[in-house]
Amino acid sequence: MRLTLVGVSHHRAPIELRERVALDSGRAKDLAAELGREAVVLSTCNRTELYLARDDEAEELAVGTLTALAGDRAADLASVLYRLGDDAAALHLFRVAAGLDSLVPGEGEILGQVRSAFEAGSTGPFLDRLFRQALHTGRRVRVETAIAESPASVPAAGAALAQQVFENLDGKSVLLLGAGKMSELTARNLVSRGVHIAAVANRTLDHARELAEAFGARALGLDELTGELETADVVVASTNSRETIVSKADVAAALRARKGRPLLLVDLAVPRDLDPAINELDGCFLYDVDDLEAVVAETMSGRRSEAARAEQLVAAEADRFRDWQASLDVVPTIASLRALVEEIRDSELARAGSRLSENERRNVESVTSQILAKLLHLPTIRMKEAAAAADGVVYADVVKHLFGLEEGERRA
């Protein structure tokens, strides 16, 4: 059984081409069924890949399928398609599942997408093993390295900092200053971690109302912040104001009512909305865009160093898969050997059958079966082990020769 991978990805194909061959989950499932056993179609916004496990014309079939999907852009597609086989294809899938082939190394969404593709695929024993091991590899990389722990954007960095201050973000209250895109992105990131957007304050109340409705929050004017600063746990500011909106004195006044509860302030505006001196206040942590960008840059370099560790784990898993795949080469020899000894046993039992009582026959059958199982156990293990090495085929050939397992040589 050979593994074939044909695909396009963000590395070489522009979005205009990727969107031609992109498939939703339903169409990917149908295509996998059309391609027959064993086929899996992995289609995300960054890649469309076909994994086929079969012995004949797999590559032609996969290329033809993707070319048909590309329609009038088929000629462009040909120059960006990649075709990988066996070890290289398995290693590629493991890297994809680990997030190492993603735009942002270690991003977590891809593992779920690989799982969905696997579940929707038309799998047999080979691809079942391949994808299960890919999912295991993806999980292992996320558990054993810190590759997925760091934020990859400024809004995500703001949310990650909130988790450095607060034990549990569930129910923590957020005040948004400004109703722009940045505020919304940061708010969405925080909401996905369990916070509650309490209020949206903006100079134009209508804009505040629009965003507040999306989060089930209250809309306020920028002159109504005093009470909100006393109750909020996180303040996210990104207005277009040319002047400071919240001063150190405003926050200092609110601190008295906060009874020591910490306050995280994220200022995404340029010019800044929040007085930088707020950071000097006890229990207040103020981050502006530059601070957050520095954190993101650092964590991205951290992701890259963790990626090096992740590559080692992926390579080890790919080696394991190669060993398993190689062991498949000796499976027919092992099966033939077992069939031969069973055949010999059956014929000898048949020959002795007339001389044995029913009880004796059962005992002899049981004893000979156990003897053969014990005799064949070690050679079977050794052959599978040897299959992983370069001389594995030689072992299989020797066994075939010694036991006369070649075609036409079998005799009772």
Partner: protein
């Protein structure tokens, strides 16, 4: 023979102390090695204490060195409750070097041997055990306060690597430190209660006065925290209190 168990315990605690420093570079193998060092060291020390308890006629940890041995075991045991969780691993950086040094001191002072302890009676054993457990709890609280001050400083200074090192969230450290202090105060109060049952007029000494002062200081800290003295101020007060415990208490209890 079982007194030699102090060696693997000490080696494992030492290994953990070094490995926790490796965790500063980011989560990974060093943290897991440190965790296993703590676990194995604690098991070895537990076996050592069981050996001491079964071979001694009286209370085997009545000397300063013996107390230190039991104290380290209590501190590490309390640390193990949270410390093995990945997010709390770095607390080990504050706890394990101290534990390793104190155990080495206990060993050097003869507190890990199997010679019979003085037959001091059940009540005194309970008193000493509870007092040591109380101080172990305060030690852990100080470890959390130290970690709080360090992490708060990093957040305030906008350190670029602030997300690279796994540290417990600030308010978790603040809350757990307060809980550890509360647990420590309850244990100390029970210990004092047990000791008071043998108290006679004229027994009042410097150790009792200092212990009561420490108790009062920590009660004040909890009251102030309730009134809004949280975070950095609470952590600094906690560390100051622990400084008093670490310096004055051994002098008043064991100097004679």
């Amino acid at each position: 023979m079982s007194e030699l168990l102090v060696v693997p315990a000490l080696l494992a605690y030492g290994e953990a102390a070094f490995a926790y420093a490796g965790e500063l570079r980011g989560p990974g193998l060093a943290g897991r090695l440190a965790t296993w060092g703590v676990r194995l060291g604690w098991v070895a020390q537990t076996a050592l204490l069981v050996g001491q308890a079964t071979s001694a006629a009286g209370f085997p940890w009545g000397t300063w060195a013996g107390s230190l041995n039991l104290f380290v075991w209590l501190v590490v045991g309390a640390y193990l409750i949270w410390g093995c969780k990945p997010r709390y691993r770095l607390l080990g950086l504050a706890v394990m070097p101290v534990a390793a040094v104190l155990l080495a001191l206990a060993w050097a002072g003869g507190g890990t041997g199997l010679e019979s302890g003085a037959d001091s009676g059940f009540v005194l054993a309970i008193h000493v055990g509870l007092m040591l457990a109380g101080f172990a709890s305060l030690t852990l609280a100080a470890g959390m306060a130290a970690l709080y001050v360090w992490q708060e400083r990093r957040l305030k200074r906008h350190e670029r690597r602030v997300l690279r090192v796994r540290v417990p969230p600030l308010d978790a450290l603040d809350r757990l430190a307060a809980r550890s202090i509360l647990a420590g105060l309850v244990l100390l109060a029970l210990g004092i209660g047990a000791g008071a049952s043998r108290f006679e007029r004229g027994d009042l000494d410097a150790a009792m006065i200092v212990t009561s002062a420490i108790l009062a200081l920590y009660v004040a800290l909890l009251v102030l925290r309730h009134e809004g003295w949280r975070g950095r101020r609470a952590a600094l007060l906690n560390l100051a209190g622990f400084g008093l415990v670490a310096i004055v208490l051994p002098l008043t209890h064991f100097a004679s």
